[in-house]
Amino acid sequence: MMQTATLETIIEDTAVELLRRAATSLPKDVFAALEEIKKEAPTESALLQIENIVTDARIARESSRPMCQDTGIVSFILSVGDNFPLKSKLKDILREATRRATKEVPLRPNTVDFFKGNSGDNVDPRGYIPFFYIDLVPGDEIKITAMTKGGGSSNIAKLGMLKPGVGLEGVLKFAIDAVAEAGPKGCPPYRVGIGIGGGEDICMMLAKKALLRPVGKRHDDPEIAKLEEATMEAMNRLPIGPMGVGSGKTVIDVNINLASRHPASLPVGVVFSCWALRHASASISKDGNVKYMEY
């Protein structure tokens, strides 16, 4: 069995690398989708914006520099295996990785406290950021996803506690309204995640997690998959386009997560990602073997 101290170092180093990859390298599926939008750009103004975006993303990957100055708020999504030897210590290790990545990548210091000011290291002195989504799974490895999400696309998120009578149609119209209202504010073309049901907190989390699905990967349930496609088509009828120039594609993909709901409630969360959807993943075995996911 590996020394715990060594494993801790491996996790920390891996998490720093994940944050670097997330900030500097747009996932390949997102990049390919943007190139597709570029090919289809109907006007010169749309083409210019999408060209700038694609070029910026390419330079970022090549030069290992952050593609956007807003390197966001950090969250980690963890699937911890039953036999993985580290548990509660993980949070402190990942906080330390965040501090290091802030200096080494570098990331912009983005954690501001009303009383204490900007902590300067992307770690909230009150312990909430980075935020951890933790799942417990069988096996002896841990899977870590680092997600950094910018403020511009977070500011346009919407929570609706709708009347159940409006049904799915009302839910999807609410999501379309959210895109219309967002307009160019959150840097389109957008990824849109829609979380339906659960509760006021659960639908937002489901919506955010939907953004992690590969572009074009439809929901396993064919009925929900159909809604994703229709909603995307509907949203792309809005004349927003790259950076709001008024033409071209507004939405890269729409992903829905559905949970059961209270009979009296119809919660819906709409979470956006700007074109710079940033996440990176790796798994680490209890023996310290690191496997990075393709990015």
């Binding site: 100055q69 807003d70 570098p106 912009r108 959150g186 840097c187 509907a234």
Partner: protein, 206 residues
């Protein structure tokens, strides 16, 4: 939809000839300012205190950059510096333009009716840089000239005075003739909602 290459600060004639839809590239000095910097600058002005920069001669850039101090030269360098969402500054911008006589605002995502009115009344324009394109922007910065309020406001919020060359293209989104490209597009988007709803209504009937 003309393309212009202009020196900063813009002259009155420059401002007058620009129309929404034009593209401009600017060279000269710009200063980053976001929510807190606008608030603080207006607060100092109100109290009659002096300001560290002359906002009338600088273009305002809605941007919270990533900066790094070069270990050897001890000089600041720009790592990434794309625009931030301008609509957050809508609550300050008209007062800011009036107080300081700023002629060019750079950001992304557009601004609202208050800024449009101030641009028309006091002669200013708003130009959009591609959102998120932080490296394209950073690579147009020749030099970091000054920094102010770093300790007070922190790296993203403080004032960075940057000398830029051919900074652009900036899409003119608000001109001094009362036009606002983003407001026009927002209206078109609202008008297109029934068309978008139709897709959902159809699929629900199936």
């Amino acid at each position: 939809m003309a393309i212009y290459h202009l020196r900063l600060p813009l002259t009155e004639e420059d401002v007058k000839k620009l129309k929404v839809g034009d593209s401009i590239y600017v060279s000269g000095d710009i200063v980053t300012a976001r929510d807190d910097a606008h608030k603080h600058a207006l607060h100092l002005k109100e109290k009659g205190e002096s300001l560290p920069v002359d906002f009338s001669k600088l273009a305002i850039y809605h941007c919270g950059p990533i900066m790094r101090k070069n270990e050897e030269t001890r000089e600041w360098e720009v790592v990434a510096a794309g625009p931030t969402t301008s609509s957050r500054m809508e609550i300050f911008q008209d007062k800011f333009i009036e107080a300081f006589g700023t002629k060019l605002i750079i950001g992304k995502g557009g601004m609202g009716p208050r800024t449009t009115a101030a641009c028309e009344k006091f002669g200013a324009v708003y130009g959009m840089f591609t959102g998120g394109a932080a490296l394209l922007a950073a690579d147009k910065v020749k030099r970091v000239k000054e920094v102010h309020w770093l300790d007070l406001l922190g790296m993203p919020e403080c004032l960075w005075v940057l000398e830029v060359e051919e900074f652009g293209p900036l899409l003119v989104g608000i001109d001094c003739h009362g036009n606002n490209l983003f407001e026009e597009n927002a209206q078109k988007t609202r008008d297109a909602l029934p068309q978008a709803y139709q897709v959902i209504e159809q699929i629900m009937e199936e």
